[in-house]
Amino acid sequence: MKENGCDQRGVDLTNVNPSHIVTVESFSVDIMRSLVAHLEASTKFEHFIYREAELDAVWSLTAFYLLNEADMEKRKAVELLHLCVHRAHDLVAKGQPEAAAAILRAFC
């Protein structure tokens, strides 16, 4: 049985299990790809909660990054991600994971 928390790195992103919570260690392209794949596979309350938790984690990480990064160029890209993650989060909370995934695809 596939369990929540198993290592998501290197998994086939066309066949993800939406009951897994992705381990969010950073906001790298790999992680964002995994999040988008999980959003696309999500269909019910429990899945939406896991997606919301993941997006909360990315939002927190980007917020901490922005707090400490002075380089304007680097900030610009992360500011956009921070904003989009916020929007995606609110869409998941409304039960619209597909729309959330569409917003985040630009960061994959």
Partner: protein, 428 residues
């Protein structure tokens, strides 16, 4: 993260507010039966969902719960005389029965039946599980009492305490379902630092919680939506081919059950809004299989675990923010992560430190906050549903509360829903 609007929606429970209307769909613990012990005893102040009320037990043993203020001149009925099936305002003598009907108005000339047309707000009450429960909603929609196991065991099987907490109810509920804090807030220094001697000790002990908490600090969360609220399952790696699961119950609108261990008492809470910045914390320990032994009772009543010692008239904990919860900084350096004695005081200290009503737009959550996120969404779903006239299912189905929390070792191939089925059934 929550928006400001969502935070307001969840936390404001006064009359007319969406969460206030939601709580007014349920029976809520209002006071201990022992606060109104005998017919015609002294009336008691009760503040609930932002309303100031007075409880009194009339001459026939019925508990009335009425507006605190006499409609005549707005004097408090707390000073009233509880006499012959009614509470008499001692200012001008108006008297009310347990239903709120004015039954005497001695200062009015003529007595043309004016008194029969005067009523004060009165809410229905029920005595159940050692408590007086109140229903503050519309009379025509009176709900069912929740069939909670602790409320249905004999009095001898149960211990209940009540304490006042200076925070919004939601902060308290969130503490009740947040499994990840116990590895830190309630830990000893040795457990937190995973000292060799501690790990050796727990490895060989029968205390599975301590053992697996020490061996796996990064648990995995699973939530399951239910008719009554949520099941929150936390999984830790155990021996080969096994997982250690701990299952918390969140029952609408604001009951929780701590993961229970086989053959030990079960513990739970109900967090009832007093107003938007304070709540009543009801803590219940029960043994479904028999009376609490003297030893159990003593262990439960001391402050080591979930119950707190309180001022018997105000229910304010003796360890409180004014005395910094009697923190012992030496103890914190050497023994306990907080230096504060008892889980209840530890929880209360940290929850109150966040302010009476935390601004959740400022939070930075992670995936270990899954249970909190789920509880907020579940409540928002219910509160918004009610605003669209969808009555809460749980309020009219008391039977669905017939559940327990659990903890268990399961083969890795078994889903927790399957493995916990028997353990989570309540039995009396």
């Amino acid at each position: 993260m929550l928006s400001r609007e969502e935070n307001e929606l969840l936390t404001r429970t006064g009359p007319g507010r969406p969460a206030g209307e939601y709580f007014r769909c349920f029976w809520l613990p209002a006071l201990l039966g022992s606060e109104v012990p005998t017919p015609d005893c002294a009336p008691v102040r009760v503040r609930l969902l932002g309303e100031n009320l007075i409880a009194f037990r009339d001459s026939e043993g019925r508990v009335g719960l009425v507006d605190e203020f006499c409609p005549h001149r707005r004097a408090s009925l707390f000073w009233g005389r509880n006499e012959e099936c009614g509470l008499r305002c001692v200012y001008h003598g108006w008297k009310y029965d347990y239903n709120g009907t004015c039954v005497d108005m001695p200062n009015e000339p003529g007595r043309h039946g004016f008194e029969n047309r005067v009523r004060i707000t009165a809410y229905p009450t029920r005595e159940y599980g050692g408590l007086v429960w109140a229903y503050l909603g519309p009379r025509e929609r009176e709900p069912e009492l929740p069939k909670l196991e602790w409320a249905r065991v004999p009095d001898s099987h149960r211990y209940i305490s009540k304490r006042l907490q200076d925070t919004n109810y939601l902060q308290a509920v969130e503490g009740g379902i947040d499994s990840s804090h116990s590895n830190f807030l309630h830990a000893s220094v040795d457990a937190f630092l995973l000292k060799d001697s501690y790990v050796e000790n727990v490895k060989n002990s029968g205390n599975l919680r301590a053992k697996y908490h020490a061996l796996d600090k990064a648990p995995k969360f699973t939530v399951k939506e239910t008719d009554y609220g949520l099941q929150i399952a936390v999984r830790r790696d155990a021996e080969e081919n096994k997982y250690y699961w701990r299952l918390t119950q969140f029952l609408l609108p604001s009951h929780t059950m701590i993961p229970s261990e086989e053959n030990l008492s079960i513990h739970g809470h109900c967090w009832v809004p007093r107003d938007d910045e304070t709540c009543w914390v009801w803590t219940i320990s029960w043994n479904p299989d028999g009376p609490l032994s003297k030893e159990d009772s003593e262990t439960i009543r001391n402050e080591d675990f979930v119950h707190a010692q309180v001022d018997p008239s105000t229910f304010r904990p003796l360890r409180n923010k004014d005395n910094e919860y009697l923190i012992d900084r030496d103890l914190q350096r050497t023994t306990s992560m907080t230096g504060i004695h008892g889980f209840a005081a530890q929880d209360q200290a940290l929850q109150e430190s966040m302010g009476p009503l935390v601004d959740r737009t400022l939070e930075r959550l992670g995936t270990s906050d899954t249970a909190i996120i789920a509880a907020r969404r579940r409540l928002l779903q219910e509160i918004r549903g009610l605003s669209e006239d969808s009555q809460p299912f749980a309020a009219s189905h008391g039977d669905i509360y017939w559940v327990r929390s659990a903890s268990m070792l399961l083969d890795r191939g078994i889903a927790f829903e399957e493995g916990s089925k028997e353990l989570t059934k309540a039995e009396v």
